[in-house]
């Protein structure tokens, strides 16, 4: 019940943003759209930096990598430098595998009780759709750079051409748009349908997916069904980029919605769980080198503690030690 409420509320929230954007479009929106991008981007930058500094300010008192392969020990034992890094290269490799390939998620399995015993089946779907979603999102973001530079960077043009190589429809459907939506659909349905995942899900978990889906959906609508004046959009975006914002001309309702969803997404990102984008780089169980016994790690607040000294110990047990014939410091 509670979970359904969260799903419902996140839909309502998305709808409310859409309506607000539409209303703004009818009213004196253009003025707003000279300020909003800066406000959103400012919040994004400030929030992102704030969060990263917050994490960075907390020290890492102990070296606690989670080791997922053979460590480096005796020279004739083959170690696993990626899953159990012994040096900086290994740690960089491990992080790259996590960030670009979702290495840990690739291990995912699914536990079921079959014939009175647990069975661990392969479950790569979360990894597959998760990677597809994140990769597609990256491509979509990069493609949008074409609105912010003149001339368009060749790499961006190339990427867009590659992305649209299937040449379905006019204008061509971008592959990344389709895979982005497919990834989102999988992640949302998985969350809403699987009882365990549904049980742990919060409002923000649904809202984040729906918000990105709303950005993608309005973008697709503009590209394929309700075309907007791309030159005007580019003029507007270039205006933002050159700090000479101009009001959008004849902005369509869909464009306002698209922009509002984007602004909310980037402004909210640093304050939400989406900040895993920055956090993953700082996770001490993943980014640390397992050289604990060969190189001393320093804890900046290594607080002194009360210990039980050998002297106190011998003072209590001296007679018993002597009786047992054990050597003592003080006869």
């Amino acid at each position: 019940m509670k979970q359904s409420v969260n799903i419902l509320l996140s839909f309502i929230a998305i709808l409310a943003i859409a309506l607000a954007a539409a209303a703004a479009g009818r009213a004196d929106a253009p003025g707003w759209f000279r300020i909003l991008p800066y406000a959103a981007f400012g919040l994004f930058l400030a929030g992102f930096v704030y969060r990263v500094i917050r994490w960075a300010k907390a020290p890492v008192p102990f070296r606690i990598p989670a080791t997922c392969g053979q460590g480096k020990s005796l020279p004739w034992i083959k170690s696993n430098p990626l899953d159990n890094p012994a040096g900086p290269l290994g740690a960089i490799g491990r992080m790259a595998a996590e960030i670009f390939l979702f290495r840990s998620l690739f291990r995912n399995s699914q536990t079921e009780i079959v014939d009175g015993r647990p069975v661990y089946g392969s479950a790569k779907w979360l990894w597959f759709f998760g990677l597809m979603f994140h990769g597609s999102l990256l491509v979509v973001v990069l493609r949008h750079l074409r609105f912010f530079t003149e001339p368009v960077l060749p790499a961006v043009t190339g990427l867009s051409a590659l992305d649209g190589f299937l040449e379905i429809g006019v204008p061509a459907l971008y592959l990344s748009d389709a895979t982005l939506l497919a990834g989102l659909a999988f992640l949302f349905l998985r969350r809403a349908v699987l009882p365990q995942v549904r049980y742990i899900s919060l409002f923000a978990d649904y809202f984040a997916l729906l918000l990105i889906a709303a950005v993608a959906a309005t973008g697709l609508l503009m590209r394929h069904f309700f075309p907007v004046d791309l030159n005007a959009v580019k003029t507007m975006a270039m205006g933002w980029a050159t700090f000479a914002p101009v009001a959008p001309k004849d902005g369509s309702v869909i464009l306002y919605m698209h922009l509002c969803f984007v602004f909310i997404l980037i402004a909210w990102l640093p304050f939400s769980k989406l900040m895993h984008l920055g956090g993953i780089f700082m996770s001490p169980t993943r980014n640390m080198i397992n050289n604990n016994r060969s190189l001393r790690h320093i804890n900046p607040w290594n607080t002194p503690v009360k210990v039980h000294t050998y002297k106190e110990y011998e003072d209590e047990f001296r007679d018993k030690m002597k009786a047992a014939g054990l050597p003592v410091e003080k006869e």
Partner: protein, 531 residues
Amino acid sequence: MSLAKIPKPEELMKIGYKPPATAWMKTPVDFRPGTWSYAAAAKNLAALDMPNPRAWQPSDSDWKLPENWRQIILDGMKERLEKYRSFRLFMDICVRCGACADKCHFYIGSGDPKNMPVLRAELIRSVYRRYFTKAGMCFGTLAGARDLTVDVLKEWFYYFYQCTECRRCSVFCPYGIDQAEITMIGRELLNLIGCSINWVLEPAANCFRTGNHLGIQPGGIKDMLEFLADDIEDRTGVRVDVPINQKGADILFVTPSGDYFADPGTYTCMGYMMLFHEIGLNYTFSTYASEGGNFGLFTSHEMVKRLNAKIYAEAKRLGVKWILGGECGHMWRVIHQYMDTMNGPADFLEEPVSPITGTRFENARSTKMVHIVEFTADLIKNGKLKLDPSRNDHIRLTFHDSCNPARAMGLFEEPRYIIQKSCNHFYEMAEDTIREKTFCCGGGAGLGNDENMEMRMRGGMPRAMAVRDVVRKHGVNRLGCICAIDRVTLPPLMDYWVPGVTVMGVHELLANALVMKGEKERTTDLRGDSI
């Protein structure tokens, strides 16, 4: 002994993974007998100068908390958010993807959704959001935040003492979020107001005073070790020395006290003593540092340091060159990941070099403490030991990777190398249940007590079922391990789920096969079973 009745295996196996109808924040904790551990006795809190010593039990409605308990916890959280990047980060970046959910042995064995690592973390994360984030302050439940109440505190106690800090979830988490870290800090917070379990604090108090968690006094340790030497002589005809508190020894040997106190750990200890005798190692036991295991790890970082300090202090007092450590799980988490940082630098010791093979243990050059399986594997590789694996032909062995050597060190091949050289019948369990994916015994982190037996059997079920598979496939009858807690908790687990399988340390296996100079013809193994 607990009066709780443990259901039969068939009953216990009826596990449902469907979450309850009520939302988790609205599902109160149920202290069902058999699933929790008794509260720490006042005398043990007092012995360690810890706050709020009193008589109480978790099943009481009044936990006799200090009046300002909420403030103490929140202040403690604030302090730890500033001191541990891990804690703050793990509070912030979870996306609740659920990849960790069915990786926890307690969840697999109980179906209780709060045993999913993600939800165990949300128990504390929800409080973090309420008091430390703007969204939580403003939007409350909608933002996944909730007030810190006595009921929430009880939930923390129940579920943070239903996590064995095994780190299996962390292997599968895309961000490496480590529930062990969260549990450790959760337990630290509970300790600030005197809420701990006796199976952790009594061993900790004993370690502090007597040097070992069983509270054995110096004479007792000597008697136990002499007794083991008698048994060795009986089985092999060789009399081994028992050096204790010897200044001038090359090496200080530290092992968990379970090894010289209780079967089947004693056979492992006999194995160490036979090995050291055979290679002529100049070593010593210590009565002051007579415990490798560190029950501080299940209490607080401060307690880890207080108990661990003895090892370096004793090494310094005795003037040894370096330290050798016995087979133990969480002991090695502490030695590998905490000791040098907390109590180092050990600049009064030498870089460890094997006096027998001349091998320099480069991986331990700062800590100056070597794991015995590293030491022994090197001996075998260099041909320094004569082994007759056929003496272990009555044993059909499988090997349980202990959580901490697996996921905090990556110690996989060394024990396997010793096993391969010491016996002829070795069979691995299924891939999903060994090495970095190994399953906990269900009784680590201080939960291996009798009153918690049902939960132990549930938590140990995935391990036991993997053993059962190799029993059926290969006729396995022995479960090897390199952890003293395993040697105590796995036997009842096997008796419950897979009767007929017994438990041994790797050095017991080795010592069975070890051909000693001047030995009589061996007719039995170390246990006295004929070979």
